[in-house]
Every structure is written in C-alpha cells, then in structure tokens.
C-alpha cells in the first residue's frame, strides 16, 4: 500500500500518571506496532496528557510533578511527548474534549501546512479548510474529517474501557463521540473480557470497527497504585519506572501516607459533575 494512502494516527493517552510507569510507556509501543502492522495506519505521534488536579482523585499529587515525571520518562522517546493543556485547565475536562482539542490542533496545523504548500492555491484552500473545520466542530463531527489530517485516537488499557460501565463516570454521549468520531486503541491482557464488554454495549458494538484491541502478552501489572504502595513501604521501584522518574520521586519525596490521603472524602470530579447534571 502506498505510504500516502495510510491514515496517520496520533495516539492520545489520558490518565493520572501518578506516577508514570514503564507499563504506560509500553502501551504506546504496543499500540504503535499493532496499528502500523495492519498496513492501514501510520502512527506519527504519541501524546501523554496527565489529568488536572481538579479531577480530585485520591492520592493525586500536583500536576506539575506528574508532568515533569512524564517528561523525564519520555526523554528517550523520539515520538511520544507530554502535553500540558489538559492539566492547565482550571476545571476538570472530559476526555472527549481533550480529544477534540488535539484533533482541532492537528487540523489547524494541517491548514497552515497546506497553505504554505507551493502547489496549492493559497487563500482559497485555507478559507475552505477553516470553514470545514468550523463546520465540523459545530456539527459535532458528522462530517468526515479534513482529508490528510492525522486522526487522534484514544489509547488506553482495559480498565478504562470497562470504566465506561461505572455509573456517572462518563456521559453516554461522550462515550458515543469517542468511539464514533475518534476511536479507541485498548491494550489488554485478556482480550476476551474486553470483547465481551464491547459485545454487551450497543454503542461500542455499533462502532467496533473503531475499537482496536491489542493483546499484551506480557503479564505486566505495574500499576501506579502499586508503585505508590511500594514507596510507602520503603520498597524498591527500580526497573518498574524509568530511572530518571525513580530519582525524581526520591529526590522530592513525592509519595507518602500524607500524599495518599489527598482528596480523601472528596467526590471525583466527573461523578460530581454528572450526578449534578442528572439532578438538574
């Protein structure tokens, strides 16, 4: 297949990254190999988007530390980077909005690129391009995306997929938009559970062609929760997180019983927002 016929993809991973671990980083590698291997896609970038402090998750330490750790972790990567837009928003931002933000950014970048292309009739193309972009965001993406623009897809583990089922954690409209307009790459150890979950959801079933399940053969259970627990117990986290991250955590003594008590008793932002809206 001609290189130009492949769909370019940007993988976006949202999450706490509290802290980032080797497992998070593996998700990107596995997803990229998988998508590139289909012959239909070409993964050009990975974006790590740590959640803002307003998420109010228990044990969530300040975003600037989590950002720095993610940046240290991706220093050695030539395609995965960290984006701070989500973490800088004052209020917690739904995942679909983060996807939309990054997709629009790509489309704007694409317009500029095409405008600068010597072959193109400049002003006409750019105007058309911007109009298309405005239309698409107003019509809630019923139109196909501007041709040639990379597609942003949400990268996640099976836990995120299954969290779609937690009451009030996600707006059902958001789930629909995520799978319909963007797409999901879900890296999972147990594909059958994920498949069952998709089967049991009408929305996910309808858009299953846009949900890619990638098998993780390695039993890799490096959860941030376990990392934090190990740190509280004075146990080594070496080789579970990149060395630079481990050193940073140690230097700043980031995780303790105190830090784990942050946001105790506080309702998680999405639950707060979705329950309030349901009542109104």
């Amino acid at each position: 297949m001609d290189k130009s016929e492949k769909t370019e993809v940007v993988l976006l991973a949202c999450g706490s990254f509290n802290p980032i671990t080797n497992m998070h980083l593996r998700l990107f590698e596995l997803a990229k190999d998988y998508l590139n291997g289909t012959g239909k896609y070409r993964v050009i970038k990975g974006i790590i988007s740590p959640v803002g402090d307003a998420y109010k998750k228990k044990g969530l330490i300040p975003a600037h530390h989590r950002i720095i750790m993610a940046e240290l972790a991706t220093k050695s990567s030539n395609w995965v980077e960290v984006d701070t837009w989500e973490s800088l928003q004052k209020e917690w931002t739904e995942t679909v909005k983060v996807l939309r933000h990054h997709q629009e950014k790509l489309e704007a970048g694409n317009c500029d690129q095409r405008q600068n292309s010597p072959v193109v009739e400049r002003s006409g193309r750019k105007r058309k391009c911007l109009e298309e972009r405005q239309d698409s965001s107003q019509k809630k993406s019923l139109e196909p995306k501007t041709k040639g623009v990379p597609e942003v897809k949400l990268l996640c583990g099976a836990d995120l997929l299954e969290s779609f089922g937690v009451p009030n954690l996600w707006k059902s409209e958001d789930i629909t938009r995520i799978v319909a307009d963007y797409g999901l790459i879900c890296v999972t150890r147990d594909g059958s559970d994920a498949q069952k979950f998709i089967y049991e959801s009408d929305v996910l079933w309808k858009h299953q062609s846009n949900i890619h399940l990638v098998n993780e053969w390695i039993h890799n259970d490096i959860s941030s929760t376990k990392i934090r627990r190990a740190l509280r117990r004075g146990q080594s986290i070496r080789y579970l997180v990149p060395d630079l991250v481990q050193e940073y955590i140690e230097k700043h003594d980031l995780y303790s019983s105190e830090s784990e008590d942050r946001n105790v008793g506080v309702v998680l932002a999405p639950l707060q927002r979705n329950t309030a809206e349901a009542k109104s």
Binding site: I218, D221, K226, Y239
Partner: protein
C-alpha cells in the same frame, strides 16, 4: 546490637537477553532480606550461563555478558561476572556457587550501605552467598535428572536460596513436596514480587525477530547493542519454541 549478616546474591541463567525482570529479582530479594532485619545485602552478581549449555537460541556469551554489563551500568551494587561463561564447558550451579563463595572469602566486598555514624561492629561475619532465582527454579528441582540431589542439598544447606515468586507458581508447595527442601526450608527465603512484571526473554527475542518494539522491557543501551550487533534477528536460527 547484633550486626546483620552480609549477603551476596548470585543469579545464574541464560540472560538471553537480560531484561528489567531479571534486574527486579535483585531489588525484590534485597528488600525482602533487609525486611527480616537479619541480613544486609552487599552485592549482586549476574552469572550468564556457558554457551555449552546448549539451550536453543542462546547467543554467544560474550554478547550476553556485554548486554548485562550495559544493563548494570547504572547499578551501584549489582555486577556481571563472566567466569562461568568463560569455563571450557558448562558446569553445575553448585560449582558456580562454590567458586564465588571462595572468591568472597578471599577478598570480602566493601559493606554497601554501612552507616559511618554507627559504632564499628564486631569483626564482620563472612558474607553468605545465596542463590537468587525465580520460584520456577524451585519447581525444576522436581524434574528428574535435571539436578543432582546432592547438589540440591548443598545449595540449600551450605548456601541458601532466595526465590522470588511469580504468578502461577506455589513456592511453598514445591518446598513441602521435597524432603531435602523441607529440611532446609529455613534457608529458603520466599520473596514476593508485589508488582507482576513477567518479561520473558523468549517474548523479547520473538518481538525483536518480528521487528517489534521492546522499549521499556529492557534498558535502552541493551536495545541499542542488540541492534548494532544484529542479534535476535529473523535471520538468526530462531524457530517457534
């Protein structure tokens, strides 16, 4: 105050290639022994097996030693020792233990982690050398003809074992199933790896031969070495195991 017994951990294996999981064994074992309050782990030794071992797809020991060395560049307590791999033929694990133990008695290693503020303790006890392994090795003690009973006994009686448990293996069960192991179970330390991270070298080799990424499964310098040396490619005689 009773001073801790210094311990050196020795891990034997193919290390074909070395991965973060191998390195984790040392960290988990050290934490476990320290937690008992009885031991002070001063050193870790990785001893890649001799080429003569004949395991399928084993790349030349010079490479396996070089990769381990690269992986350990940033470790201040674990090192690789090529002695076993440089012998004219394969040798039993117990012989490797004997060799390193006599080396230790000859020149005791510096005490890692000793606090200069503390009173000098009584003359330091001779370091104990313990075999570090995954719990699956305990299970292989049951495989007929793989180990000599006398060797198993010597390993657990004279040296000691630190086993890091993996998913699907019940180390206590293996111990109770074997009279020799049962007798010396006080010298068999079962460490639990709290964070499962089953990076099999077989998987890594397969991924490499298929051109897939192994980043974050093993250190970057090792990956670069593998690439530069053309190891584990599709052309290497690799077959489905």
């Amino acid at each position: 105050m009773k001073s801790r017994i210094p311990v050196v951990l020795l891990a034997c294996g193919s290390f074909n290639p070395i991965t973060y999981m191998h390195l984790r064994l040392f960290e988990v074992a050290r934490d476990h022994l320290h937690q008992t309050g009885m031991y002070q782990v001063t050193q870790g030794i990785i001893s890649p097996v001799n080429d003569d071992y004949g395991k399928k797809d084993l790349v030349a020991s010079q490479h396996r030693v070089a990769m381990a060395r690269l992986a350990l560049q940033t470790s201040d307590w674990i090192r690789v020792d090529p002695w076993e791999s440089e012998q004219p033929q394969w040798m039993e694990t117990v012989k490797v233990l004997r060799h390193h133990h006599s080396q230790l008695l000859r020149s005791p290693p510096p005490m890692e982690g000793s606090d200069p503020g503390q009173e000098p303790s009584a003359p330091t006890a001779a370091p104990q050398l313990k075999l570090l392994c995954g719990a699956d090795i305990l299970r292989t003690f049951q495989t007929p003809n793989l180990w000599e009973d006398a060797h198993i006994q010597e390993i657990v009686e004279k040296f000691g074992l630190v086993c890091v448990s993996r998913v699907g293996h019940d180390p206590k069960g293996y111990i109770l199933d074997s009279p020799i192991l049962r007798r010396y179970q006080h010298n068999i330390h079962l460490a639990r790896e709290p964070v499962q991270n089953e990076i099999s070298a077989t998987y890594v080799r397969r991924a490499l031969s298929q051109g897939q990424s192994v980043k974050y499964l093993l250190p970057d310098p090792v990956i670069a070495y593998i690439r530069d040396q053309g190891l584990y490619t599709k052309d290497s005689s690799w077959q489905t195991s």
